[in-house]
């Protein structure tokens, strides 16, 4: 992978207002260009806001939507990961994130795990994605996993086994659980999870969380970039907007994989065999 400057735009998208959010994206992209950033990652649903409910269908865009032209054009100068509601063929609406580079969308990840419990209601409004795939970019091989996707560790495993050097994680995580943990109990769990993934899968993890309030829920920010030995290389503040920039380089990845050749020793055929056995034993019961 290439030595790159990676940025996270820890912004507060405006709920349901694609036009204003496009302006926020354009501003952040120009900031990224001025700081010679190679890759700029926005949070989950950064073009629309998160708790959309019945607005989902009104803010959705197809991947060819002219509204995205301004970002396509800017991606000649800085690659970007942008969150949006994608209206796919057949009028299926996905919580999606697009990788834009060189004037075009290179990859779209559709969130595969839609949380529908507690404060979340995504399956009511959205269709689940059906694939987790790494993809090549000018900067290296990457995979996108959106927020809840990462709470199912198999997705991070698939990304790493598929060759991802950087896992990009757009997120819209509302703070939950008061106590002594800063700033919320779920925030400290997130931090443990993404650092463990960096360590276990010897890859970079870019966690881009948003800030701001929607219907009284507070998104906690705290975006971070984790290195391939699990250490946080850079960390944004909690609860405030920030433009976080950090340099990542292939040498660190190589050294981590030399020291901990976990991916070399991975036994996918064993995993597949046991997963198939478990599925057979369940006999179609999701278990």
């Amino acid at each position: 992978m290439r030595r790159s400057r990676v940025a996270v735009a820890q912004i507060a998208p405006i709920l349901g207002d694609v036009e204003k959010n496009l302006a926020l994206h354009e501003k952040a992209a120009r900031e990224a260009i001025s700081q010679s950033v190679n890759l700029l990652v926005f949070p989950e649903l950064s073009l629309t806001g998160y708790f959309l409910k019945d607005q989902v269908t009104s803010v959705a865009l197809t991947e060819h939507a002219p509204a995205l032209d301004v970002l396509r054009n800017l991606s000649h100068r800085v690659a970007m990961v942008v969150g949006f509601v994608e209206e796919a063929p057949g009028h299926r609406f996905h919580n999606a994130a697009a990788y834009l580079e060189g004037g075009e969308i290179r990859h779209i990840h559709r969130k595969v795990y839609l949380p529908t419990y507690g404060i979340f209601d995504e399956q009511r409004y959205l269709a689940a994605g059906a694939q987790v795939q790494a993809f090549d970019t000018a900067l290296g091989r990457m995979a996108i996993l959106i927020c809840e996707d990462l709470w199912h560790p198999a997705t991070a495993g698939i990304a790493a086994w598929d060759g991802a050097e950087i896992i990009l994680c757009p997120s819209a995580s509302p703070g939950r659980g008061l106590g002594q943990a800063e700033p919320f109990q779920n925030a400290s769990t997130w931090e443990r999870v993404i650092r463990a993934y960096g360590d276990l899968f010897t890859c970079f993890v870019v966690y881009a969380n948003r800030v701001g309030y929607e219907d009284g829920a507070c998104f906690w920010g705290g975006s971070e970039v984790v290195g391939p030995t699990g250490q946080a290389l850079a960390k944004a503040r909690y609860l405030e907007e920030e433009f976080l920039v950090v340099e990542v380089e292939g040498g660190a990845l190589r050294r981590a994989r030399v020291a901990n050749p976990l991916l070399r020793d991975e036994r996918l055929e064993l995993t597949l065999q046991e997963v198939q056995r478990i599925l057979r034993a369940r006999g179609g019961d999701p278990g």
Partner: protein
């Protein structure tokens, strides 16, 4: 098992951010808050003054002739500590005029009437001053239904509704709400000598533990009894929460159309904001 301690610095940031965000999103800069002299309304006022600046907070005192004089004294302590605008509206004439016709009304009816009288004054001053009505109900009283529907439960934005009473006290001390207010016996002050805990039949400390386990930690009633909690107490608390569910919801609508408000017509409250 039960840890109701708060990371007060963070909660303070979240709640002041919430007030600032929700008030401005709605197109306002000011709030109007009824000051009772108790810890809840005092804390709401402290948070609002920090979020919006004291020049944007109006504290309104609304005594009735039987109110404990200490209530107004304590509310005035808050006004002075924060240097916020304040106004006193005596509700005695309106309340007494009404009950001159209904002389047999009991304490509950009188108390509810007073709470609703205060609500109409707050919402009138919301229009008069161009400020949102700031709520003061905490999670304990909302869950127990210990409040007057369309009275003290009415507001536009409520920063305290997810904090138990014992947590309100912690945060109030952290924000330096006068200790005489934080430490006094909580009272709705609807009649002489009334205290919340005497009326409810248990202390906030006791009930907050049970509510936290039932609501936040998803314990079943049977789990609590198995863990040694007094069965009658737990069942009484559960019943209060269940019986007051209607107070926490919009009025139920008879469904006849294909898309009914709040059933299958679902938009965020922050829709378009």
């Amino acid at each position: 098992m039960v840890d109701l301690r708060l990371n007060c610095d963070t909660v303070r940031r979240v709640l002041t951010g919430f007030i600032d965000n929700e008030v401005r999103k709605a197109g306002f800069e000011r709030v109007v808050v009824g000051l009772s002299g108790g810890v809840d309304s005092s804390l709401s006022a402290f948070l609002a003054a920090e979020a919006l600046g004291p020049q944007n907070v109006w504290g309104i005192l609304m005594p009735y002739r039987t109110s404990n004089p200490e209530s107004a004294t304590h509310a005035t302590l808050v006004v002075e500590a924060l240097d916020i605008h304040n106004l006193t509206v005596d509700i005695t004439p309106m309340v007494d005029a009404y009950f001159a016709t209904f002389t047999d009304a009991d304490n509950v009816r009188r108390g509810n009437k007073m709470a609703r009288e205060r609500m109409t004054i707050l919402f009138d001053h919301s229009a008069r001053l161009g400020g949102l009505v700031l709520g003061t109900s905490n999670k304990t009283e909302l869950l127990l239904g210990y409040g007057t529907l369309y009275g003290d439960m009415a507001s536009a934005v409520n920063p305290l509704g997810d904090l138990y009473k014992t947590q309100v006290r912690q945060l109030a001390l952290h924000l330096k709400v006068p200790t005489v207010i934080v430490e006094k016996q909580p009272s709705a002050d609807l009649w002489a000598g009334q205290t919340d805990e005497a009326e409810l039949g248990f202390t906030y400390k006791e009930v907050d533990r049970v509510l936290y386990l039932l609501v936040d930690q998803r314990y079943e009633v049977a789990d609590l009894i198995a863990d040694g909690f007094d069965e009658r107490f737990v069942r009484a608390v559960y019943h209060k929460v269940q019986a007051s569910q209607y107070k926490r919801r919009l009025p139920v609508i008879a469904k006849v159309s294909s898309r009914t408000i709040d059933r299958d017509f679902r938009y965020p409250r922050d829709w378009g904001r």
